[in-house]
């Protein structure tokens, strides 16, 4: 036997092969029509630039679409998806090889290539598909995790894929058995089937069975292809496209600005107000449920479920998208032809005001999504509609917004002014300096730092560390206003814009170039949002700046221990707006590593999978039901590490976790401290240990 001559007959045992081509026409027509419907709907969305920076997009595409970077982060699902995904690719290539071999003059399906790829590899990957589907079926039908959506469609997808793979092996096996294929050993699974069938069936029976199963296999496969655009299997195409067109700028800059002069509506309560990318997001969802699984609000039992928001909007788009989007008219659904907007915010769906106002904007959902769906900005868009068009929002947020409007800070009833914390520290205030340009850095204190008793220690520690390192800095004092972050996350873009413009103007007046702040929310606004209003600065979170000072030797952090017992165990809680939103995980940890003999332990959910303190998105101002408190869920996790210090880097995290830890620490002495407080304890002058 000459392996260079190895091949097999295409369409062995099959008559009327022309029928294959005839059937292929309607199959591809339905397939194409299905996707054309989708594309037509997406194109009816508002414009958005997502085909720029092609190099970066290709990188992301290779990493997370081709490389399945995010999918494999969940082990079980990652394994079975990889098995099915790679199997599909190999089987698709194999089918292409057959087509080229049979329908073009290039007879490539022969020799070693035939044996190694078309027989052995294809058999192995075909087995992968069957094993993968079986693992998925075990999860879906037996272990039944909460994060999945249990639809008949999803079950049928598993059944049909399994049937296609199984029938593929059956026809291969019977062909091998009947033709006594000399290369049978190269197709181990098909051969196994042949060996099993041989003693049980006559050649004639196998031949008849082969024809029947062959056509059955073809009909299932063609039917399946035609079904793809109408099922969640369309993710095979929509997911890679969605990843390619993902937001490249991080979650911190993912909210859009509004042109208040021209906008027809503020915020979104209508399918037609979404951009094409938003609409693509809905179609890219694979119902994996990871977003809801990691959602802090959902975890503590609130009604918010990012997955169901996306799926309910997807269902609405499929049901009414053609009328509402493509015809370009509003639609009241009663066929009267009246133009009336179809609301997306609906008490009866997942897009209820209650759910929308439970979001902490932590972006855990976006980080978890294997296909880069952008859930959080849509939630904020809907909030914008409720806040700006309907003036409908929770009471705590109302007090916060009233205070922001009349006092430019969100803490109604605070007993502190913006400069009280500076008492005895001799800190320059820009307005009182002869030459404000002498200050190399603006220390942006933030409302949460200056006006909340618990956090005044943090800003004092930060200021004293800057003084100790000889940094020439100043504050804006009474001229500082809230950056607008809470207003923006709650959905009051108008108020955010006013505050942002005011701050940009003030900072411009003093020629501010470099900003250090201990509030990650302010940090994010300056870094990602103020450039849209003409304010571009070199922005540092205090942990980054202090870490640099330690690195450069301007601050000496050696030798001292964090607490008097000298054996502290510290766990660091990543603030969402420093970590996930801006990718800074290391600076605060580096800083903590330099604190004497303190030992760092990590919470199970840390770094990019960190769990929100519950204070983002304006939620710090809302009274949560006692049994649905995100901060306590997180505090429990921190306490469970055994740490005696929970280190934070955000004034909102500090207050939220203070409350949470006090509720959950039991008899243990567990303290919540900002990294700056800890550093000052370690490097402060003797006798100055308590700033």
């Amino acid at each position: 036997m000459d392996p260079t001559q190895a091949t097999r007959e295409v369409f062995w045992n099959i008559e009327y092969t022309w029928l294959v081509y005839v059937l292929m026409v309607p199959t591809l027509a339905v397939f194409g029509w299905g996707f054309w419907l989708k594309i037509r709907r997406w194109r009816a969305g508002q414009p958005e630039v997502r085909f720029d920076r092609l190099g970066e997009r290709m990188q992301l595409f290779l990493k997370n679409a081709v490389g399945q970077g995010r999918t494999i982060k969940r082990r079980y699902a990652g394994i079975f998806h990889t098995l099915v995904y790679t199997g599909f690719i190999v089987l698709f290539l194999a089918t292409t090889v057959v087509a080229i071999h049979h329908d073009t003059p290039l007879h490539i399906m022969k020799g070693h290539f035939y044996l190694i790829f078309q027989s052995l590899t294809v058999d192995i990957f075909g087995l992968f598909v069957m094993v993968g589907v079986a693992l998925a079926a075990i999860r879906r039908w037996i272990s039944k995790p909460k994060l999945l959506v249990y639809t008949d469609e999803a079950s049928w997808i598993l059944v049909t894929i399994f049937v296609m793979a199984l029938t593929g092996f059956m026809i291969e096996g019977w062909r091998i058995a009947v033709t006594d294929d000399p290369w049978a050993a190269w197709s181990p699974i098909g051969n196994l089937f042949a060996l099993a069938s041989d003693p049980l069936m006559s050649d004639a029976a196998m031949q008849t069975g082969h024809v029947a199963i062959w056509w059955f296999h073809l009909v299932v496969a063609f039917g399946w292809i035609a079904w793809v655009p109408f099922s969640k299997m369309s993710h095979v195409f929509t997911a890679p496209l969605n990843i390619f067109t993902a937001n490249l700028d991080g979650y911190g800059g993912s909210l859009k600005t509004i042109d208040f002069e021209t906008a027809e509506r503020f915020g979104i309560n209508h399918l037609g107000d979404f951009t094409w990318k938003d609409l693509l997001d809905f179609d890219a969802c694979t119902e994996c449920g990871r977003c809801t699984d990691v959602c802090p609000a959902n975890t503590v039992g609130k009604s918010l479920s990012p997955r169901d928001i996306i799926l309910d909007l997807q269902a609405l788009m499929h049901k009414r998208g053609d009328t509402v989007l493509v015809s370009g008219n509003g639609d009241n659904g009663n066929g009267s032809g009246e133009v009336e907007l179809l609301p997306i915010i609906d008490q009866k769906t997942a897009v209820s005001p209650e759910a929308l106002f439970a979001c902490t904007t932590c972006a855990a959902c976006m980080e978890a999504c294997p296909v880069h769906i952008e859930q959080m900005p849509k939630i904020v868009d809907a909030r914008r509609y409720l806040v700006m068009e309907e003036a409908d929002f929770p009471e705590g947020m109302m007090d916060m917004m009233n205070s922001l409007e009349s006092r430019q800070h969100p803490f109604a009833g605070t007993q502190f002014s913006r400069v009280d914390w500076t008492e005895g520290l001799d800190i320059d205030v820009m307005a009182e300096m002869d030459d404000p340009h002498e200050a190399e850095v603006l220390m942006w204190v933030g409302c949460g730092g200056a006006l909340v008793e618990r956090n005044r220690n943090t800003v004092r520690a930060t200021a004293k560390l800057l003084q100790k390192a000889g940094v020439k800095f100043a504050i804006l004092g009474r001229e500082e206003s809230c950056t607008g972050d809470p207003a923006r996350r709650v959905g009051n873009e108008f108020l955010f814009e006013m505050l942002a413009k005011g701050n940009v103007e003030t900072m411009q007046r003093y020629g501010v170039r470099k900003v250090v702040t201990s509030c990650p929310h302010c940090f994010n606004s300056f870094r990602n949002e103020y450039p849209q209003f003409g304010g571009s600065y070199e922005v540092y979170h205090h942990s980054q700046f202090l870490d640099q000072l330690l690195e450069s030797g301007r601050l000496d952090g050696n030798g001292a221990a964090v607490s008097s017992n000298g054996s502290s165990t510290i766990t660091f809680h990543d603030p969402c707006y420093l970590g996930r939103h801006n990718g800074e995980y290391d600076a605060p940890r580096n800083l903590l590593a330099k604190l004497g003999d303190a030992r760092q332990v990590e919470m199970e959910r840390s770094r990019n999978t960190s769990f929100c303190c519950g204070g983002g998105g304006g939620m710090a101002f809302v009274d949560e039901p006692p049994d649905q408190r995100v901060n306590q869920e997180r505090a429990q996790e921190a306490v469970d590490t055994g740490a005696d210090v929970v280190a934070v880097g955000c004034p909102f995290c500090a207050t939220m976790l203070d409350d949470g830890v006090n509720a959950r620490r039991g008899d243990r002495d567990v303290k919540v401290k900002d990294v700056a407080e800890l550093l000052w304890d370690a490097v402060g002058e003797p006798g100055q240990a308590a700033p």
């Binding site: 068009e389 003036a391 007993q415 002014s417």
Partner: protein, 274 residues
């Protein structure tokens, strides 16, 4: 129907204690770092008027009126953002703290002027008192100037049989009254007249709506007389009470002794207060 709501701009009563400053010579509070806000009871009055309009079947027009410095335009714009129909500012010239009688005269003159142009107001709504001086006289004195009946501490207005049904808070409970326009009410707060947050579009529109401005001269009032001639009281002195805290620790070797000591001191202190 036509309603008129009077507004007053005051220093933010929520200003942190340490930021609150006074000018003993001028016998007035200093602005300092404090913000200017609409007096809360005036905002309750705006909300009460808006709710009356929403409940009424007939057309109701609401006008906001303020006697204040030019910065008080913000209060009127906010009222318009809350969807008050019209606004009028009577500009104050340097008279930092006119008393309630003077304010009543100015407001009455302005109301008569507005009525000349646009017909009589069926009801005038005034906040029960202001959050700065808390005198609580303006409503009554304004009613006197206008010669209209007045009712105080009203928390809601509802369209009634031919007239208006008023609910007012009293020491013993809620009193419900029927009133025939024209009348004046002072408005107090309850959980239902918390001022609404305006819709953003209304906020934007409020800056495009016309705002009528009148001076004391327009109203043919002598500003000097308003400043000095109508005082119902005179401020003798203004000061921030010293916040003195005396701390004593109950002493004793055992807990019982310390409790005993504490109880004795409490008796002494109570006796000394008489």
């Amino acid at each position: 129907m036509k309603l008129l709501v009077c507004l007053k701009q005051i220093l933010d009563p929520d200003v942190p204690a340490r930021d609150f400053q006074i000018d003993p010579a001028a016998k007035a509070a200093r602005r300092g770092g404090a913000n200017l806000v609409t007096n809360i009871f005036c905002e309750n009055a705006v909300e009460t008027a808006l709710q009356f309009r929403e409940a009424a079947t007939a057309e109701v027009k609401i006008t906001a009126l303020c006697y204040g410095e030019s910065s008080a335009e913000d209060c009127l714009r906010k009222a318009m953002a809350m969807t008050v129909d019209e606004a009028c500012l009577v500009e104050r010239d340097g008279n930092t703290n006119p008393d309630a009688a003077a304010v009543g005269r100015v407001l009455a003159a302005a109301i008569r002027r507005l009525e000349q142009d646009g017909g009589p107001f069926d009801a005038v709504l005034v906040g029960r008192e202001s959050g700065d001086w808390g005198v609580g006289q303006t409503g009554g004195l304004l009613a006197e100037e206008l010669g209209r009946p007045a009712l105080g501490f009203v928390e809601s207005l509802q369209p009634g049989n031919g007239g208006v049904t008023l609910r007012r808070q009293t020491d013993v409970g809620i009193e419900v009254a029927e009133a025939e326009p024209p009348f004046l009410v002072t408005i107090t707060n309850n959980e239902d007249n918390v001022p609404r947050i305006p819709k953003t579009r209304d906020v934007m529109m409020s800056y495009r709506k016309p705002l009528q401005k009148l001076s004391l001269a327009d109203l043919e009032l002598d500003s000097e007389e308003i400043r000095t001639g109508s005082s119902i009281f005179e401020v003798e002195e203004i000061f921030i009470p010293a916040d003195e805290v005396e701390c004593e620790l109950a002493e004793g070797d055992t807990l019982e002794e310390r409790v005993d000591q504490l109880a004795k001191r409490i008796h002494q202190v109570v006796a000394s207060i008489g």
